[in-house]
């Protein structure tokens, strides 16, 4: 009897540990806590799917203008260039679609993922460059316009797919935690962290614009700002850091890739939509 009791106790302790591992800490718990935080703090009742609109979800007037623009977006012609780049065969006759499962359709939502072999985060842009390298082509400059236009089209093949980033294993979790820490680290002369604006002050006005919330930040890149200027997610990280008078890191740096990993995880479950207009 005593023995059974001991086993049961041990079992309970184990259960308790498992409970802590999956529920109260870890990426999924972080995400749920953030969803709950925004539910409490953001103005209006924003539906979860509408988080993909960012700050537009809080401003029906701006949203109606956005809908009007997206009806016939000014970047339509630029997007054709991206399509051309995606469909142009390499010198060896293969195409980009040969590097991705399902011809590149409905894959972008799985990026970034953690690659145990190289012990680093692999973003969609990294995968594009790996594809170029594997086929003997010159790699594109990360976060520049050419890459932006190409990924704008390539990611649009995954429109409607839900963001599905996975954090599996200790090394992946470490990268995620590093990204999360970077997101919360104060930086620059103005001494802001990403979190200061996009978690603590999300929904509040900064001059005439509302600060967008962390959830939904990573499901729609690259975007065309002002209708024609293409900006990639990591290009945007740089702009953000400049805004707080910090020295931006290089695109494709470990810090940014880890942060992209964290940030994209926070958008898990949201439908992808690429590219989009933002002002």
């Amino acid at each position: 009897m005593k023995r059974i009791l001991t086993f049961t106790m041990a079992g309970l302790v184990l259960l308790g540990c498992a409970h802590m591992g999956t529920q109260s800490t870890g990426p999924e718990a972080d995400r749920k806590a953030l969803v709950e935080h925004f539910k409490q703090t953001l103005p209006g009742n924003i539906k979860f799917e509408d988080y993909k609109y960012g700050a537009l979800a809080m401003n029906p007037d701006a949203k109606s203008q956005y809908d009007e623009i997206m009806d016939f977006p000014p970047y339509s012609i630029d997007l054709d260039k991206g399509q051309k780049a995606w469909e142009t065969p390499f010198k060896n006759g293969k195409k980009f679609s040969s590097c991705f499962p399902n011809g590149g359709k409905n894959v972008a939502g799985n990026y970034p993922y953690f690659d145990n072999a190289s012990n680093s985060v692999v973003t969609f842009e990294n995968a594009i460059n790996a594809c170029l390298k594997a086929n003997g082509e010159e790699e594109l400059k990360y976060a520049e316009n050419e890459m932006g236009l190409l990924t704008a089209y390539a990611r649009s093949l995954s429109d409607g797919m839900k963001v599905n980033v996975k954090v599996e294993g200790a090394a992946a979790l470490a990268a995620y935690e590093k990204g999360k820490a970077y997101y919360a680290t104060r930086n620059g002369q103005l001494n802001f962290s990403c979190k200061s604006c996009h978690v603590q002050s999300a929904g509040k006005f900064i001059r005439s614009d509302q600060l967008s919330m962390t959830i939904g930040h990573a499901s729609h890149w690259p975007e065309f700002r002002g209708g024609t200027d293409i900006v990639t997610l990591q290009g945007r990280f740089k702009q953000c850091e400049k805004n707080v008078r910090a020295k931006p890191k290089d695109a494709n740096s470990e810090e940014y890739n880890n942060m992209e990993y964290y940030l994209t995880y926070m958008s898990n479950g949201l439908p992808m939509q690429t590219p989009v207009f933002r002002k």
């Binding site: 016939f72 000014p74 339509s76 012609i77």
Partner: protein
Amino acid sequence: MAEAMKMRAKMEGDAADVKVLIQHPMDTGLMKDKKTDKIIPAFFINQVAATLNGKTVLEAQWGVGIATNPFIGFRVKGAKPGDKVAVNAVDNQGNKYSGEVVVA
């Protein structure tokens, strides 16, 4: 240069709402190329015409005051779904641009 023009037309009430994007630098002839320090010659679209099933419904004379990659939006009364709207543009160097779309 057919791919230089993108069009969309759909019914809104009794009129077709037509939107057109044209890819064109629309150089005014007043700007200098920063690298060579030479003036970039004027190069802009100066004539635009739109037709509904071959009948002219809009004519415009443009100048240098129109921005790069111009956008035109207009409404055509009396259009029906299935009608064809075409836009033809000519620039000051005689290049022709055209596009056609079926009203949805």
